[in-house]
């Protein structure tokens, strides 16, 4: 078909216009914002007749000799046609009507008004009125059903409603459109249209598509889309024959479709690109008149010869024709699928792309959920009818070769449109009143309406700065704020470059702001502020970093286009597109940079996890500086730095929503106290600026299993507590001052939880689990656990736990040793390896310190531990020959030693830890004790490794090196006892140091304390079975005293211990044997049990004899314990 596009001509002044043809087709009638209705006798009519109907005419309708207009005086007037004489007023509204239409027979007029009402008036008797109420916003357009049963209307509230005229009730409602506050703000005036004659289809313009709904079933049976349609469809109009649909778009595109095969017959561009707002077919169907928002009138002639012929056919035939069309293809009754099926599936995603793009200008889709569901249903249908479709493929091609056959068969994953860049905590840019940003510092609001284009900056804490009001001359659309500055940015316009505008209010000089122009063609997309710096990401995939005073600093390229950016302190977090996501998923990557003095990249563009089919909705830092993300499904994730920078989901905000379409809009996150600050939005994703939304606080919840049970609850609490206190470690590591009390409190809380979980597992008789839990506990809590276990008569558990306690003590000790040796040997050249582990051990160590500090009574226990370890030594020493594996590993470590003597100090504790974790039972074990070999081998090995330490020899006390000469065994090197004794010494030192704030003068005190600590085992010796060491010591004491006359008691014992360890295994065994014989009174009792009992006795004795604070502590501990017991039983 050939179309003749006539040149447009001016008809009215700028503003909304409407057009219609008279019944004969001789006249074109237009109305416009100049308040005139013009009657044209064709486009070339130089002197159209003007009828003045008011100040402005919004809409006109013509039927027979009656011309009905909606004018600015809020009335619906009737004029005679073509004379133009006033013929009375049909009805009035409280504000102007937006659209007025005649029904087919011309008996009734319907009008929709900005006062949300629709009135249907009998033309002959204007007292016969029907009012349709139910829209919540101005009515945009209305359409009479040709059969006069229904009336369709669209409104600014986003809904399209079909009403039953006689009952004045809603038949169906679709939430299709974007909400707007007024007709002038609506993206599209959404002129609907019923298919003439049959009224079988209702065409509704929805964004860039036209949806076709079927009468009575009200199902969407198809969608007309075209790649050329880039902007919203404004007007649709059926040809009189009902076969063709003319579509007028914002931006001036006119298309004509053959609805039967969804073929786009004609695409015409408005010559000036004005928005088409009025569209009318000539009654003969060969001409299409249109008007635009600039008051111009145009005409397309020679449309579709076919349509001319068909329009001549009787209308009944027409309907049949249409039915046939559906029936012959598809006898299975999947009528409603048919149209969508015809539409090429490969084309669909692009359509949806456009939809989405348009609807989520800055922050994702604000589209109504229902519509999304609709879409999904529809696409599902397409999938289900797929095989059928392929069968019929040939047939389809006959109808219209829309797509090449190759594309039709593709059914793999489809790419997702990329989400647009956005600013965290902002509402979409198309809103007139919006939040440019809402974060933990304050709020930046933007107003952009007729009277005002302004920005309001408000601080939560008015002590930071008072609120500010700026006129937004540059039309800034991006903003971020920190305690130091407010950063604004605008995109480039035709004349002006994209600008970055910083209000640096904390500056101490008089220039409180600076501005930077970006290079031509580069637009700011996201901005953020950190401490002392500002950053802007641009569409050139660059991130530009400025100092807060405006100095340009770093500049780097991003691996993909930016999505969002956030700053905190010295950290910069950037989310960007790594690639194209498929099937609704986004493919985002994340960068985390440290911008301070030591610049480094922490996250190197790793994929950012998001929920299925969701997009990023918020990205930022908690107040403590941990990165967090929120996706559109409401899942909040935090970066877990201790688990290799993984992301852990910590909250699902949608779980807290009452309604399905409610959302929470996150504005800030705090880790201590655990708060997710967000704004509840009823029925939307974003809050309105007015009334001022209130912040709500949501709790965090790790998605653990079975959180309804006590076990699950406690596990969740513990896991969360651990996770949410990681920031302390991070802050400490990055050199910030941290709140020690908060840290201690957190540890206490975690220990309590562990203890509760332990008690629960005890009650459930899950001993293995108990041990697992105990492994998580620090040493002093393990002792509590042991007491709990022994009190509840779970001896085997208590025994295992005590082994664990020993292990922990050893670990603690070795970390002390490490620490010291590292300090001493710092200058030596093995730094690479050491440095890797250094920071970690340091933090672990400090943690231990804290724990030690918590229980001064530990000193006493230490004394016991000394004995314990002695016993182990014996057992372990005996085993060396038996345990092959241990030997092997010994060799290995020896080998290592030769290579790098220094390293072994670093590694030995780790090895011992590893092997002890194995916890295997040694079948060859001969010792009387029932310990798992893993533990003892670990001990042995570590001592052996330490034996071979030549390096630390210099630290050894001179007397010890002397004794080395007396060594019988050539294998055992002199250093072997050293770490042990040293361990003890350091342990003592640690506790005292802590107590006395690490002053060196306290060495004397330390000695004193040791004296109080050491005699206690001696006091209880008569009650307590002696160990081999004690027996040995008694005999050899004199010799030691002779060697070193100046020694005090503690040193003698130390010295004794070191010497004892230097004895050969056989010797030691024999001493142990002696000791055993000595305590053969109750052989059935387990040794461990005795120890724990003895320990308790010890403590009782000690507390009676010793000073008050110790006593108090013990009471505290047992009180705590009994509290657990009470709770659990």
């Amino acid at each position: 078909m050939t179309v003749d596009k006539k040149p447009i001509r001016f008809g009215h002044t700028e503003g909304h216009t409407d057009i219609c043809f008279d019944d004969t087709g001789n006249y074109i009638v237009t109305c416009g914002s100049d308040g005139d209705v013009r009657v044209w006798e064709g486009l070339d009519d130089d002197d159209p007749k003007s009828i003045s109907v008011g100040e402005k005419a919004y809409s006109a309708a013509l039927k027979g000799s009656k011309l009905v207009t909606a004018a600015s005086n809020n009335t619906i007037q009737v004029h005679t046609f073509p004379e133009g004489a006033p013929d009375g007023i049909l009805t009035r509204f409280t504000t102007n009507a937006n659209h007025v239409v005649f029904n087919d027979s011309g008996t009734h007029v319907a009008a929709g008004s900005s006062d949300f009402m629709i009135k249907i008036v009998d033309v002959s008797d204007s007292s016969q009125q029907k009012t349709l109420r139910g829209h919540d916003a101005p009515v945009l357009s209305i359409a009479f059903d040709p059969k006069d049963v229904y009336l369709a209307s669209s409104s600014c509230d986003g809904s399209v409603v079909v009403w039953n005229i006689s009952d004045q009730v809603r038949v169906t409602t679709w939430k299709l459109l974007q909400k707007s506050s007024d007709v002038s703000n609506a993206k599209s005036i959404c002129r609907l249209s019923w298919q003439p004659c049959s009224g079988k289809l209702l065409a509704v313009p929805v964004d860039q598509a036209v949806h076709l709904y079927e009468r009575d079933s009200w199902k969407e049976i198809g969608k007309l889309t075209d790649d050329f349609i880039k902007q919203a469809v404004n007007v649709v109009c059926w040809s009189p024959c009902g076969k063709f649909l003319a579509v007028g778009c914002v931006g001036g595109l006119l298309t004509v479709w053959n609805v039967e095969n969804q073929e786009c017959l004609e695409r015409e561009k408005h010559e000036k690109g004005y928005t088409v707002c009025g569209l009318a077919w000539h009654p003969k169907g060969d001409q299409l008149g249109y008007t635009d928002t600039e008051g111009c009138l145009g005409l397309l002639e020679g449309l579709s010869a076919g349509s001319v012929t068909s329009s001549k056919l009787p209308s009944s035939r027409e309907v049949k024709d249409y039915d046939d069309l559906f029936d012959d293809d598809d006898d299975d009754g999947v009528l409603e699928d048919h149209l969508s099926e015809k539409q090429s599936p490969s084309k669909r995603p692009f359509i949806e792309d456009d939809d989405d793009d348009d609807l989520m200008p800055s922050l994702g889709r604000s589209r109504h959920r229902g519509a999304i569901l609709d879409d999904e249903e529809n696409s599902l249908d397409v999938a289900s009818v797929k095989p059928e479709m392929e069968k019929e493929a040939g047939e389809n091609y006959k109808h219209g070769p829309v797509e090449p056959p190759g594309r039709l068969s593709y059914d793999g994953p489809l790419p997702t449109p990329r989400q647009k860049p956005f600013q965290s905590g902002s509402t979409p840019a198309h809103l007139m009143h919006r939040f440019l940003v809402w974060n933990s510092v304050g709020i930046v609001r933007g107003y952009n309406d007729e009277q005002d284009n302004a920005i309001d900056i408000e601080f939560h804490d008015t002590s930071v700065h008072h609120s500010m009001h700026l006129t937004n001359n540059l039309s800034h659309t991006l903003a971020d704020m920190s305690q130091e500055a407010v950063l604004l940015a605008c995109e480039s316009t035709d004349e002006l470059a994209s600008k970055l505008h910083c209000l640096h209010f904390s500056s101490w000089d008089t220039n409180k702001e600076w501005m930077v122009d970006l290079p031509k063609g580069e637009d700011v997309q996201v901005v953020c502020l950190g401490q002392g710096w500002a950053a802007a990401a641009t569409n050139a995939m660059l991130v530009r970093v400025f100092s807060i005073g405006g100095v340009q600093k770093e500049i780097f390229s991003l691996p993909g286009s930016v999505v969002c950016m956030a700053g905190h302190g010295e950290q910069l977090l950037v989310a960007f597109h790594r690639g194209t996501g498929f099937d609704g998923d986004q493919s985002l990557g994340v960068l985390l940079l440290q911008l301070g003095k030591k610049k480094r990249q922490i996250l190197n563009g790793e994929p950012l996890p998001l929920s299925r089919k969701s997009y990023l909705a918020w990205l930022g830092f908690s107040a403590e500086g941990t990165p967090f993300t929120v996706d559109s499904e409401g899942i909040v994730r935090m970066l877990n730095r201790s688990l290799g920078n993984t992301w852990t989901p910590v909250c699902n905000t949608n779980e807290h929503c009452k309604g399905k379409s409610d959302h929470y809009w996150v504005v800030g996150i705090h880790e201590n106290p655990q708060q997710l600050r967000c704004i509840p939005c009823k029925g939307s994703r974003y809050p309105p600026t007015l009334p001022r939304p209130a912040v709500a606080i949501l709790p965090f919840n790790l998605p653990y299993c079975q959180v309804t049970t006590e076990k699950g609850q406690m596990e969740e609490l513990f896991g969360r507590s651990v996770l949410f206190h990681k920031h302390l470690d991070f802050l400490e590591a990055s050199g910030y001052e941290i709140d020690e009390t908060a840290k201690n409190q957190a540890q206490k809380e975690q220990q309590e939880l562990l203890m509760k979980m332990f008690a629960l597992s005890c009650k459930l008789e899950r001993d293995f689990r108990c041990v697992e839990l105990a492994e998580l506990m620090p040493h002093n809590v393990v002792t509590l656990a042991i007491r709990y276990a022994s009190r509840t008569k779970r001896m085997s558990l208590a025994q295992r736990l005590s082994e664990l306690a020993l292990e922990k003590a050893a670990e603690l000790a070795s970390s002390c040793v490490e620490e010291e040796e590292e300090v001493e040997e710092e200058q030596e050249d093995f730094r690479t390896q050491l440095n890797a582990g250094y920071s970690r051990t340091a933090t672990e160590w400090s943690r231990h310190q804290n724990r030690i500090q918590q229980q001064p009574s530990r000193e006493k226990e230490q004394a016991n531990v000394v004995e314990e370890e002695e016993e182990e030594e014996e057992g372990g020493g005996g085993e060396v020959e038996v345990d092959d594996e241990a030997c092997m590993e010994n060799k290995k470590s020896l080998h290592k030693l030769f290579n790098k003597a220094g390293n072994s100090t670093e590694q030995s504790p780790k090895i011992s830890l590893m092997s002890s974790r194995e916890g295997r039972v040694n079948p060859f074990k001969v010792s009387a004790t029932v310990k798992p070999s893993g533990l003892s081998t670990g001990q042995t090995r570590s001592t052996n490794i330490l034996d071979n330490m030549v390096k630390s020899a210099k630290k050894m006390a001179a007397p010890v090196s002397q004794t080395s000469d007396k060594q019988k065994s050539p294998v055992l090197k002199p250093l072997m006892p050293k770490p042990r004794s040293k361990t003890q010494a350091t342990l003592f030192k640690v506790s005292t140091n802590k107590n006395a704030n690490k002053s060196i003068d306290d060495k004397e005190k330390e000695v004193l304390k040791m004296e109080t600590a050491v005699p206690s085992p001696e006091d209880t010796e008569n009650r307590k079975p002696r160990t081999g060491f004690q027996l040995w010591l008694e005999e050899n004491r004199n010799s030691i005293v002779m060697d070193h006359t100046d020694m005090d008691e503690a040193d003698i014992i130390k010295e004794g211990m070191s010497r004892f360890r230097l004895l050969s295994t056989e010797d030691r065994m024999s001493w142990t044997e002696k000791a055993k014989r000595g305590r053969a009174e109750d052989p059935t009792e387990l040794k461990k049990r005795k120890r724990t009992e003895g320990e308790e006795k010890d403590q009782v004795n000690g507390s009676q004899a010793d000073e008050a604070p110790k006593k108090k502590k013990i009471v505290d501990a047992s009180a705590k314990l009994s509290a657990f017991a009470f709770n659990k039983d």
């Binding site: 939560h460 008015t462 600050r677 009334p691 001022r692 209130a694 912040v695």
Partner: protein, 186 residues
């Protein structure tokens, strides 16, 4: 009781404010308040809220019931029923008065709310007068009045009890003349 005393009692009611300053917990005799974080809602007694508001240290979040739609429902309910309907807050009148006087800029549609609350109040007071009237005229000995707020009781309490006393005295003086018949009447 004086109305000002009733108001004083009402000032203990908790309201939500959004402070624009930061302050740790405050320990008072009546309990601890806070901590105050800028931008985060926190519950404080009315007296403190008003004090802070006057110093422009906070925004007051109106109570949930202080909403035109909800109050309209309450007013309609109050008009429809003969008895007193339950009221959302025992100090609704005092709260409304204080909040609207001091923080009307934080309360959307303050004027409408004022009218609505006043309407409800008037209706209730009218009911109260009516029932007092019938109480006296029918010479009832006791009456049960549910859902009355302290302020409402206070408006009529002293006057009513005094009048009843006086009435009793008058009647007692009347008694000697028609002793037997009157006593039977009671």
């Amino acid at each position: 009781m004086d109305p000002s005393e009733v108001e004083f009692l009402a000032e203990k009611e908790m309201v939500t404010i959004i402070p624009n300053f930061s302050l740790d917990k405050v320990y008072l005799i009546g309990g601890e308040l806070g901590p105050f974080n800028p931008g985060l809602p926190v519950d404080v007694p009315l007296w403190l809220a008003i004090n802070l508001k006057q110093r422009q240290k906070c925004r007051i979040v109106p109570p949930e019931w202080m909403d035109v739609e909800k109050l309209e429902v309450i007013r309609e309910q109050e008009r429809k029923e003969d008895t007193f309907t339950p009221i959302p807050s025992p100090y609704y009148m005092e709260l409304t008065k204080l909040l609207l006087n001091h923080a009307s800029d934080n309360i959307p549609k303050a004027d409408e709310i004022r009218t609505l609350v006043k309407d409800t109040w008037d209706t209730r007071i009218a009911k109260l007068r009516l029932s007092a009237d019938s109480f006296v005229s029918q010479q009832e000995v006791h009456a049960k009045l549910d859902n009355l707020t302290l302020m409402e009781i206070n408006t009529i309490g002293t006057f009513f009890t005094d009048s009843l006393n006086n009435l009793f005295k008058i009647r007692a003086n009347l008694q000697p003349r028609g002793e037997s018949t009157m006593s039977q009447e009671y």
